[in-house]
Amino acid sequence: MDLLISSFFNLDILEQAWPFLLAGFWMTIKLTLVVVPLGVAGGLAVALLTTMRSRIVKWLVVIYVDFFRAFPPLVLLMFIAFGLPFLKIDLGAFGAVAVAFLLNTSSYYGEIFRAGIESIPRGQYEAARSTGLSAVQTMAYVVIPQATKNVIPDLISNTLEVVKLTSIASVVALPELLFAARQAQSVTYNATPIIAAGIIYLVCLWPLVRLLSRFEHRQIALH
């Protein structure tokens, strides 16, 4: 028991590590605030492209989405962070993470928005067009608001996954929460910082998990 406390819940160590962890926490928040909106915007763009008439565009979008769904995000990140500098494209750690996340998460968000748009009946388009709205206006004011509402649980679920995924940025030495915790661990030779990071993730994300499991039970019970 004492061993457990001194190894995992060591307050002295925590005090030393706290400034690192706090800085890492803020970096994680900053990262989230950049990658989530980027991914949502990218996903919306992907979904809108699939509604276009052009067959070629549709095919390209499907290839894009499947390609990045098949690619483990960490592999993508390493490729961008370590491979691209050889072409003199150096985005820096933050930039590499942002680009990797944009490519990966936009395909997931894209699939969600597409399902939402497909759930809107034809009558909605026809009603909107019959009142003189343009195609773009119909999308913007009639279809997308309803589509988004229909897929809110999926959007939240994906966002939770994206926030958790920011932890892989530690691999390319972006000083976010997990990276800070591992640094602190290697300096102090004690696991407390990692446990503390875990607890921080838990405290921040647990409410979202609860909310989601409510949604999921309700959703599947409706079928």
């Binding site: 390609f67 769904r69 098949a70 483990p72 960490l74 390493m78 696991a191 647990w206």
Partner: protein, 224 residues
């Protein structure tokens, strides 16, 4: 420019030198992925069935553990298992740590999915089965689970694919899977061609899986 691109990312010499390593990683990735899928889903199924007994303390425990596993990033769990647990005397190999972490995460997600599926089976099904003398467990096994599993297949497939891709996280704790081999080869050769090979290996592995997922989604979409 094109020459340079090919020389950098598709360097034949580097690629042929490290191909055996990537193949080795490929095999390990498959082993890890299969182990995670089997143990994760089996464990999730059992947990959901235990939960259907509705014993309060047990269910609170299941919900608590599942929530924690859903809230923590998988990489954090892997690192806890591999770097934190040994400090209290629990040691495991990198492969086991990654397998255990990903299995637990998949178990948590699949438990939630199966449980939602069980809830979706109407109460009348339980009553009809019990009224013919089937026991609780027989009802669960022969009447409720077959129906629950069918509606859970699409969400379960997608979640399983996402978590299996997490096998790449094993590279962080030096499990010799594809990404780790690619990364090591890259740092030896100082040429990103091994990373290209690794990426291609993942595509070969996962594009069929993604297509399988799409097929499952349309196949089971609105059928009950």
């Amino acid at each position: 420019m094109l020459d340079r691109l090919v020389d950098t990312f598709f360097n034949w010499q580097v690629m042929s030198e490290y191909l055996p390593k990537i193949v080795e990683g490929f095999v390990i990735t498959i082993q890890l992925a299969l182990a995670v899928v089997v143990s994760g889903i089996a464990c999730g199924l059992v947990l959901a069935m235990v939960r259907s007994f509705r014993m309060r303390p047990v269910n609170f425990l299941i919900i608590g553990v599942v929530d924690v596993l859903r809230a923590l990033p998988p990489l954090v769990i892997i690192i806890m298992f591999y770097f934190a647990l040994p400090t209290v005397g629990i040691k495991m190999s990198a492969f086991v740590a990654t397998w255990l972490a990903l299995s637990l995460v998949l178990a948590a997600f699949s438990e939630e999915i199966f449980w939602a599926g069980i809830l979706a089976v109407p109460k009348g099904q339980w009553e009809a089965a019990r009224s013919t003398g089937l026991t609780f467990l027989q009802t669960l096994r022969f009447v409720v689970m077959p129906q629950a599993v069918r509606i859970t297949i699409p969400p379960l497939t997608n979640r399983t694919i996402a978590i299996t891709k997490g096998t790449a996280l094993g590279a962080v704790v030096a499990v010799g899977e594809i990404l780790y081999q690619a990364q090591t080869a890259y740092s030896f050769s100082y040429n990103p061609s091994p990373l290209t090979m690794g990426a291609i290996a993942y595509l070969i592995l996962f594009i069929p899986v993604v297509y399988f997922g799409r097929w499952v989604e349309t196949r089971f979409a609105w059928k009950r």
